[in-house]
């Protein structure tokens, strides 16, 4: 069945245009989605790597210079 559908799509060159439209729709959707997020939520999430153990931050040494 899929074979038949694809064969009947017409000129294969138009396939690229369909793909492009699909991509533009998805990308625009993601942009809109990202901009609709609450800033407070995003700021909280951005802190995740910094919520770390206290023993993870020894200062670099210059003792062998």
């Amino acid at each position: 069945m899929i074979h038949n559908i694809l064969r009947n799509l017409g000129a294969i060159q138009e396939y690229g245009i369909v793909s492009l439209c699909l991509f533009c729709a998805v990308f625009t959707g993601v942009l809109a989605w990202a901009f609709l997020q609450r800033k407070s939520d995003l700021d909280r999430m951005a802190q995740a790597p910094l919520e770390a153990e206290s023993d993870e931050s020894p200062e670099p040494s210059n003792s062998h210079e």
Binding site: Y15, M45, L50, S57, E59, S61
Partner: protein, 763 residues
Amino acid sequence: MSIDAAALSSAKQRGPAGAGIETFKYDNHIVRAFMIATAIWGLAGMAVGLLIACELFWPQVSLNTPFMTFGRIRPLHTNAVIFAFVGNGMFCGIYYSVQRLLKTRMFSDALSWFNFWGWQAIIVSAVITLPLGLTSSKEYAELEWPIDIAIAVVWVAFTVNLLGTILKRREKHMYVAIWFYIATAITVAMLHIINSLEIPAGLFKSYSVYAGVQDALVQWWYGHNAVAFFLTTPYLGLMYYFLPKAANRPIFSYRLSIIHFWGLIFIYIWAGPHHLLYTALPDWAQSLGMVFSIMLIAPSWGGMLNGLLTLRGAWDKVRQEPMLKFMVVAVTAYGMATLEGPTLAVKSVNALSHYTDWTIAHVHTGALGWNGFLTFSMLYWLFPRLYNTKLWSTKLANYHFWIGLMGMMFYVVPMYTSGITAGLMWRQFTKEGFLQYPNFLETTIRLIPMYQLRAIGGTLYFIGLVMMLVNLYKTAKAGRFIGDQEAQAPALNRAASRESVKLGHRWLEGVPITFTVLATVAVLVGGLIEIVPMFLIQENVPTIASVKPYSPLEMLGRDIYIREGCVGCHSQMIRPFRSETERYGEYSKAGEFVYDHPFLWGSKRTGPDLHRIGGKYPDAWHYNHLENPRSTSPQSIMPNYPWLLSQTLDTTVSGDRMRALRKVGVPYTDAEIRNAQQSMQAQSKLVVANLATGSITNAPPDREIIAVIAYLQRLGTDIKKAPASETSVSGAGRDARATGIDIKKAPASETAASNTGAAPANN
């Protein structure tokens, strides 16, 4: 023991049920194991890289042994640096950051160690099999079928461990780094399985189920996305984790990271055909690949800027912290490579750059800059922390930074020069309309100083790596390893999680299964739209009646061609440019490759294209050339292949191989398989007779070189036997439109042009 104040604070926000504090231990043993493996394999992979770099201006360094020739060990270098160095680095960073971001130990220690030892066993098997010539010949997927199965099993174990850890997490929301890890796990599995579909023809021999154009499309869909989802997305995850940690400030824009992630994984997968511009791939697929490659700049640069802008107001730290210096160069190299990649995907630029060292320069901007420097940055950060001490020498790390940077420059600048020089020389015509440099060797010789400079660059980079290893070893010796690091975090309140369901991205970050499904759909769409039509629509691969399967002897010769890695230096794809048809003969048609399992189009011309080599030289020329290329082509940089003259051809495998090829669609009949031995003997006698006319009277008919000559003499000749009307098929019509050449007249006129093209295009 450590406790996370911010986590406790967020636990309070979740309500009373989430306030129960749990104690657990991070597994640092597995992180250390991958760290050490990264360092060791980095050293090995780059040493092999240096060796093959030297072979390009000093071919004798291979010592005339089959196990050290450029063709065989070039895949060893690429596999070692990609899968061993970057692969172990990726696992190292993922195992460290996932535990901390999700506030839990890995799902299963047993799976972690299975992942580690399984991966090392795969690498060791590559180290053994590739120099032995056991290869599928598909770039970055050379390993033979038993190893392919092992890769799939180990990768599934890693994916289960990753997803299991996510499911047992104590942190409700998945940070952006985790998204990139999820995309890596699912996409690499998909790419590897689809590209590795092959029919075994013995323990270490198989044939791709795809042929010709379809094989090329699947291979470069895999190859391109292996760069995307093995070398890029996991490292972006590491960037999003380690850069904020080192700079001690959050990522510049979390909103931008959402766009970066979804934009990147959705677009990247479409761009594979940009590796096949101006080949026999249908035009629509080429254009699709080109357009999506250009659009890829948007998410890539979004990510790059997100990384660099994180350092706003913290550039003083970059001066003090070598780890940050490496990270800044890594992110900058990512930006450069992701701008250059789309530029190279523009057809007019690609016409110049393809098959040249420009591609090598581009790849190494990414490999040495992005992957290499980011790995170094991560190791400099991790070692002191896991060993609870300070870095042994900041000064030595700074020296490493500068020598590594110089090494990169000395590598890529000569390669850009070499690539552009070769591209321009290949297409240069005289005023009279003849090729200015008709002998391919003229170009090769011109590039040798660039190859020598490149080896200096590689040596500097390698010295920097050794300096790092000394520094890290000394750091480890001075400290005390913390294998199981105790930590505390509040338990995840799943009931509260469900209560807060909404359709924002924050909600999606809290539902890992839905997230994984959506990411899978995002990567699948591009792949399906690109590949499925190639298999279902007949007009994409027109057949040519005169194109027939290889004879048994030619088939075995082709297998030796694959074994020796000839495809690493010689393409078999003549593009529809006058400069190429003048040099090599008629341009290649999709229908000529329908029995090629696998395709051997190649991606680099260190030597000339061989698609129309059949009938161009006498058999004796090939015999002498393979024994010692400099006997026919003075100053050639091709290695000697004396073992082809001494090793007996194993004809007993022909039946199994023909049956395997029949399973993938090559129409060998039962009679042809039954009579293979007689067929091979008859064809060998013909080759030996031809050699005798060329003054080679002592050639035994049972040697491997006889099969190789039979194969080379067959290449590209089928179409010459065809009446003009047979070649005038729809696919060829596409090429003709692109070049303005009348296909019905093309064979005769172009062959004539080629024959009058003065000196042969030899190596």
